[in-house]
Amino acid sequence: MMHQKILSGTLTALTDRDAHLRLDGLTKRYGDTDAVAALNLNVPKGELVALLGPSGCGKTTTLRMIAGLITPSGGRIVVGGSDITRMPVYKRDMGLVFQSYALFPHMTVAKNVAFGLEMRGVPKPEIERRVTEALAMVRLESLAGRKPRELSGGQQQRVALARALVIRPSILLLDEPLSNLDAKLRDEMRNEIRDIQQKLGITAVFVTHDQVEALSMCDKVVVMKGGKLEQVGTPVDVYERPETPFVASFVGRTNRLEGAARGDGTVSVGGATLRVPGRPNGPVEIMMRPHRVRLADVDASPAGEGTNRLDGRLTRVTFVGDLLQYHVDVNGAELIVEAASDHGRFFRAVGTPVTLSWRIEDTMVFRRAA
């Protein structure tokens, strides 16, 4: 017992010292509603952290408070050990990349990138050197003399990135930077941003509503809802071990069933009994990922060790290219099973009775208000 306490104490101390950005009870109130409610967050140096959530969850408000564009109603923002909560935006040293890029339309690409350096009174020759360097980093040296309107969306995005990075900010802030790009370019920029961030070892906060971006790019994912933290963890954590039903359904697709847990590791769902990890009691909701569920012909033999099984009827099959989605009616609830599409061949015709099975450890169970 004693030992454990000391250990956890040490751990806290460690994280605190390592935290480059720390939010302490950060709050933003508009009238009666809290856009951001008492947010606590530590971001270690050099990490890329995603703030993930649906629109209105407070992720952008949080980012703008860190940048200094919105004054918090309460709480503290600490960067590198010093409190910057009341520091005006122009003294903060944050590199912010906007969703709309916000390039200065009346300045050339080079002038855009040089702006932050000029504001800092950097000598001219050094400005030139650093601008060239920054443009080289985003592979835009040849377009230095262009005006923003002469650039494609992806190029504008890279100028915005260079402009934010050239000042060597203490933190790089990215506000949905990829949402205005088409799908292919988005994949490209995702890798490019991640590569640059890791090469520079810069601490970065990335706001997005797209779970794929958050999972694929970031060291840590912060899932937000209604101004509050739902879960903080690695991409694998939030996907495989969601702590709330919201996280489970927002990060990745889920099937959902309601049931009553008996306290012995089993849950009654409709007429069937499912086994779940842990020993919850009372009303629960059960979730499982569509691609973790297997589809088979009806099988009367008892379920194998470590497996849950439900019988249903195939109601619809949807072909989405790389995947086939089977919609199965299980006692009035619709569950979805995803399987790799095999040259468009369907498993069975619509109307066929089928059996669904999945592993017990793939069953996510959450307490549900009665």
Partner: protein
């Protein structure tokens, strides 16, 4: 009228002044002009209409309804007011009739041709009313081209200037750009496909116009009429020059009372009356808009 207001605000640091202090300082010049050149004079005008005018331009500070009662009991002024309203309504109606075809044509044209025609419509707006009225004096003069042409056709040459006819002709032309622009703004609702639809349903062009085009353009018509009426009631330059002192309207009377007779209380009372007519026109307009909807 509304201003797009920014979604969030760049925090301005709090130096010596603070946010409100900075804002106040920046607004000070425009506020001063507004106070000295607008608020104070207009309030004073209201006050002045309750003062007593003495002979020879004197004014006694008091509170009397004499100016208002005097107006109501003087047949000259009652006729003047009625005349102003009737002339303005006539002008509005004529302006509408003459502007509608131009606006409709403009609405149906496109590209550089439309830009060119729009510039033609706007350009008179940028030309001084004095210059345009002067042009009408040349056209409508007794020996001018129009009267001469009528005489050449064997009719008795009419008097077109220094009477109400001249004022109406001049003002109609001067107000046409306003009407055309208002109509055009209202024509936004008029999709050419609607007309085409009506015709494919078997409506002849004339019928299409009365049953489809006109009803759709009513809001633009109402706006244009409001604007023209209001401008006509308060117009001064054209009635003064083309009326040659023989046409008595509200605006010319305000000027004469203020500059020639030096009866400021009466001039103020007439001015307030113009504002009251404005208010009435606006109320009618609001009612018409509601009826259209």
């Amino acid at each position: 009228m509304s201003v797009a207001v920014a979604e969030s605000v760049i925090p301005v640091p709090r130096p010596a002044l603070g946010r409100v202090g900075t804002a106040t300082l920046l607004l000070l010049p425009i506020a001063l002009v507004n106070a000295v050149g607008f608020l104070l004079p207009v309030l004073n005008l209201l006050r002045m209409s309750f003062n007593e005018a003495l002979s020879g331009g004197g004014i006694r500070e008091t509170f009397t309804l004499a100016n208002w009662v005097g107006l109501a009991g003087d047949s000259f002024y009652l006729e003047l007011i009625l005349n102003s309203v009737v002339v303005s309504l006539t002008i509005t109606a004529l302006t509408l009739v003459l502007s509608y075809p131009i606006a409709l044509y403009l609405h149906r044209s496109s590209g550089r041709w439309r830009t060119f025609l729009t510039v033609l419509v706007i350009s008179p707006l940028l030309t001084s009313a004095v210059v345009r009225t002067y042009g009408w004096i040349a056209l409508l003069a007794d020996q001018g081209p129009i009267t001469s042409a009528i005489a050449a056709l064997g009719f008795a040459p009419p008097r077109l200037m220094f009477n109400t006819t001249g004022v109406v002709i001049g003002l109609v032309e001067i107000l046409m750009p306003y009407m055309i622009l208002s109509l055009l703004a209202g024509f936004g609702r008029l999709d050419p496909r609607v007309e085409e639809a009506a015709m494919t349903l078997g409506a002849r062009p004339v019928k299409t116009f009365w049953r489809v085009v006109l009803p759709l353009t009513l809001p633009g018509i109402a706006l244009g009429c409001l604007l023209c009426f209001v401008l006509a009631v308060s117009s001064f330059i054209t009635p003064k020059l083309l009326g040659g002192g023989r046409v008595f309207l509200l605006a010319t009377e305000i000027y004469d009372q203020a500059i020639v007779t030096l009866n400021w209380p009466l001039a103020s009372t007439l001015s307030i009356l113009v504002l009251v007519i404005f208010g009435a026109a606006l109320a009618v307009y609001a009612r018409i808009l509601r009826a259209i909807d």
